[in-house]
Symmetry: C2
Subunit: 219 residues, 2 copies
DNA sequence: TTGTGTTTGTGACGACTTTCACAAGGCGGT
DNA sequence: ACCGCCTTGTGAAAGTCGTCACAAACACAA
């Protein structure tokens, strides 16, 4: 179990989803070859990724689907539930709140914040949208692990500083800015504007350097 | 102008945003050092990224903010507008439709599709939500360049095949699946579930390998 | 015009990631 | 129990990406 790259973790997450699919199809065992085909990588890549965490396969046979699912869930920390706060009750916040996959994966939204007086007090399922003035108090009370930042970019860094101060150790950021967090806090960015610009670049330069759309068939 | 990696393009997009900010602050010139500070990379990285496209700076001085903005807009293909179709009028689709940044960057949504009879016919600003049966016809008529896929994973690949068939050359995918597109079509994925699992991994393994949160301070 | 100070552009280096290739291991048939 | 076939796990090679360090270029001052 050496150092593991971010891309490896990303692929594990993908393998996990594919394995669940396979399980539903009644498949009991998969080879690295088969997983590679489904995930769009190579068999060697699959084996390397898995082998950074242990020897889960049987030579000559492949991997047991159910065993590997269990291993991956354990590696990714998905056996427990995570307590999540959603900061920003705008359109993106609302979309994320309704995203059922989160709950299914064990990410439970325990609090929603906004600064808009019109939003504060609204009932969202079993939760009430709370004033962002209460962030520190509620984050501590609810023992929030992860904060989802869905506020305008101008407010993002301030919100992050506050939730981190209140004990949050993971941030999923939807604001198109570069956030700064202290060591020990994990930060992931989802930047739709950037992805669109990547597409714009790829489409503008078709025919030129043949590699511009390396995302194709890649993750 | 050699081969350019995806990460380079991502950073260019970031530089562009930061330069606009600087321009609003009345700054006329920036050094690679300054851009690095703002973007969280290194000066050498900034210079390498820019130099893959040309020599935009003046030695001893730095880069002209307005010139560099123009160059980056040109490189990223943002001087024109792109015609976009949104497939899926659910929560995510609605959130994206309302995301003003897209329009500001020149990405104009010209069509919205859904398969739900309750949604079809709804008025969304100046657009009417159309039946997904009309995808081929409308995509061709409206000369759509880019499709945003905001449908359930079970429908995603089918939708992609159809829009590609109808002439779309860029896909922004929000469904948590690995899509397959023919060569010449650019594909970008936004996978929130995967990012959350990355956070879960990082939080589960704190203290272990010190590098788990390399996203921190990174992109 | 010459000198000083600053910052770019880039080849060389180092770190990290992916691919390759094969020995080691395990199953099934005879 | 042995043989043949298949697939894993992994060191080594290839490739990609980021960092370093410095010569080249330019502004400005005297």
């Amino acid at each position: 179990m050496k150092k593991v790259s971010e891309s490896t973790v990303g692929r594990l997450s993908l393998y996990l989803r594919l394995l669940k699919e396979a399980e539903e199809q009644g498949i009991l065992t998969v080879s690295s070859e088969e997983l590679a085909r489904r995930s769009g990588t190579t068999a060697a890549q699959v084996r390397k990724d898995l082998s950074s965490f242990g020897s889960f396969g049987k030579r000559g046979l492949g991997y047991s689907v159910s065993d590997l699912i269990a291993e991956l869930r354990s590696i990714l920390g998905l056996e427990r539930t995570w307590r999540v706060a959603l900061v920003g009750a705008g359109r993106i916040g609302a979309a994320l709140f309704g995203y059922q996959d989160f709950r299914r994966q064990g990410f439970h939204i325990r609090a929603v914040f906004d600064s808009d007086p019109h939003k504060i007090g609204q009932q969202w399922d079993e939760l009430v949208v709370r004033s962002d003035a209460e962030i520190e108090k509620v984050v501590r009370e609810e023992e929030i692990d992860i904060a989802i930042i869905a506020v305008p970019e101008s407010a993002a860094q301030r919100v992050v500083d506050r939730v981190v101060q209140a004990g949050v150790r993971g941030i999923l950021n939807f604001a198109p800015v570069k956030l700064h967090v202290p060591p020990g806090v994990a930060l992931k960015n989802v930047n739709m504007a950037m992805e669109m610009e990547g597409l714009s670049y790829a489409l503008s330069n078709e025919g030129r350097s043949r590699r511009q759309n390396s995302t194709k068939e890649g993750e």
